[in-house]
Point group: C2
Chain length 403, copies 2
């Protein structure tokens, strides 16, 4: 994988970049919709492409349990399985093991857990976490890390952070071993392609990059909770290992927003400038705007898709809850200023009707709108960075809310 | 509305025709997907157009209760409400009143019933049934009829048939009165357009027909259960009234298939050749093939869409039940010979995974496939009629199953 830093905003830490992956190019900053079970809920890949989605996040934990990573592998890998030929990032499964399953036992070796589906017992080690993601055929993989709930003491946070570091070492070793062997079908490619230029369409760039054999990547994850000294230790160790990208984990788990921003502000400068930075599981549109100013390049969050299914729709004047009776005969679109295909065609009244009537199309149309809102926010973010006027954009968004 | 009879098969009663409606042309024989609550479940209008769906059926009963026909009317009518600019046929609501609601009271005047949603009481008369469909802005409306369950005695069937005839008179009167007044926004158009030729795309033809003001239509419905004498009385009376189209109702309610075919075979020749014939609520792909041979032009059925959501998929080798364990790692498409976009992209293994994981995309993809199967069957039916070889097609389909 190769990361190009295209330009930096002069007054904030905002960056415009470009990720080259085996399945094509991703412009940064980027928002990655979540495709938990090998589908972004209610969306066809065609609809995602129409929305200009560039990369998806899929959850190893879910795919490991069902249908199984080996099944996916035998069916040609995750991209072929779900009909998505653009990049995919997978998490390690660690977060879901800690949040969804009945935890049985965590040791230095790994974590034994019970499936949330049927209670059967599995063991996830740093090595199997990499193997699972390898089998899925992910473009960007994540190390297995130990995830703590908030709040956690300094003592617990340090223990967890150091365990995560040990696991990071083992993941990195496994990844490099696997990448060197013929068992990884992409290993044969190796290396990174020359810069493709900015005038090629994402799909064509994807094909070109794949032909030229961009390598898959494994990202490290900085842990340490809300403790700056622990974050520093974690960052230094991971950077020393030389990962091709770094995530900031363990945030958006219940801590106050200012504390989250503070951690990012402190960790950011310690990360190498020429590697992408990924803030896991974040966040609201305002979080995107704020964290880009702190140097974050990549985001993922279930918020736009999950909220869509619950009838919570983003607009430039704040959100609306579509089931509200006041929309019963409202002929206006969700958002007058929105250029998404849903706002071009449907009234709030119709979307309310679909929601109240429990129609599947409600989830479909609401998801299209919310994803468009997030991606449009990202596109505006990119443009203001390119113009070197991100600070003005940030100030305006803080004044009015993200609009 | 205008119906053109384009050609007839020489050895069966199969017909190729063309319906001109205010929202465009519909080729016959036609299958109409069901959009009960102003949406074909899980489908966007765009996906329906990609499937070459030419006309939808929507249910007055459901829309009357929620969101209300007056609400739909104030929002510009059903087409604008649901973002569908091709023709819509609405039923009268009678069938659902009899099958879904708690019946309170049926009289010569109409039927008092309780909503299946909240138990509140409504009254549906022949006049209000027409008014509701007028308010929705339907292209083809249906008279209110009295629907009996199977089996029913000759006595009950006659009583019900005669009530339906009286209601048909009142519906027809209401329809003509409303069509003559300015309160019907489409009444101003009147008349039928000259033949548009066969080389114009359906959408363009739709626009042309709308510009030239094709009138909306009200269809009569032949009743009389399984009794040929009653069917004859019903047919004669309705034909005497001069409806622009005729439905055969009260079938597919539990009677044996041969009995259903026999009724259609007997009623068909009694109906005017220059008017379209619509068999309500039918049926399986085999039913379509059989009933076209008996002279039926129009069909609707929830089978392809409902079965899709239950994981029952049509193929040329019979149906498959996608949740079956044997498809767990099956890399084949649903049907090797199918040219739908789902079979072009996805494996049975992926579709099984989506179904088992209870993903919305399961309903979406399965519905696309099943609707494609039905419409492909209709397209093949049309072609064999045009070639005057429908009998051979019928014989072959009877031998192998519809494939």
């Amino acid at each position: 994988m190769k990361f190009e830093l295209l330009t930096k905003d002069p007054k904030t830490r905002a960056r415009r970049g470009r990720l080259h992956t085996p399945h094509g190019v991703v412009e940064t900053p980027i928002f990655m919709p979540v495709g938990t079970q090998a589908t972004v809920k209610s969306m066809t890949p065609e609809q995602l492409k129409d929305l200009q989605v560039e990369i998806l996040l899929c959850n190893s934990y879910h795919l490991f349990l069902r249908p199984g990573h080996e099944t996916v592998s035998r069916l040609g890998g995750l991209h072929q399985f779900m009909g998505w030929n653009r990049p995919i990032l997978t998490d390690s499964g660690g977060y879901q093991v800690f949040s969804l399953s009945s935890l049985r036992d965590i040791s230095e070796d790994g974590v034994r857990f019970q499936s949330h589906l049927d209670g059967s017992t599995y063991f996830l080690s740093p090595e199997t976490a990499v193997d699972i993601q390898m089998a899925l055929g992910s473009d960007i993989m994540m190390i297995l890390d130990d995830c703590l709930a908030y709040p956690a003491s300094h003592f617990d946070s340090e223990k967890s952070m150091r365990r995560s570091l040990a696991w990071a070492e083992r993941c990195w070793k496994r990844f490099r071993t696997r990448s060197d062997t013929a068992s990884d079908p992409l290993a044969a490619f190796g290396g990174t392609p020359p810069f493709q230029g900015g005038d090629v369409s994402p799909l064509k760039r994807g094909t070109a990059a794949k032909r030229q054999g961009v390598a898959r990547a494994l990202f490290g994850i900085v842990q340490g909770g809300i403790y700056h000294d622990l974050r520093k230790i974690s960052t230094d160790h991971l950077v020393g290992m030389g990962f091709p990208g770094y995530a900031i984990g363990g945030l958006a788990v219940g801590e106050p927003k200012p504390l989250m921003y503070e951690v990012i502000e402190r960790v950011g400068p310690e990360l190498p400038e020429d590697k992408p930075r990924y803030l896991m599981g974040v966040g609201t549109p305002a979080d995107l705007v704020e964290c880009v100013a702190l140097g974050v390049d990549m985001f993922d969050c279930v918020m736009p898709t999950r909220h869509a299914r619950n009838g919570w729709l983003f607009t430039r004047d704040g959100h609306i809850v579509i089931k509200h009776a006041k929309y019963r005969e409202d002929p206006a679109p969700i958002d007058e200023s929105c250029r998404c295909p849903v706002c071009a065609t449907y009234s709030r009244a119709y979307l309310r009707h679909l929601f109240i009537a429990n129609e599947i199309l409600s989830s479909v149309l609401n998801t299209i709108h919310n994803l468009h809102f997030y991606l449009d926010t990202i596109h505006r973010i990119r443009q203001f960075i390119e113009f070197h006027r991100y600070e003005e954009f940030l100030t305006e968004m803080r004044r009015t809310g993200v609009r």
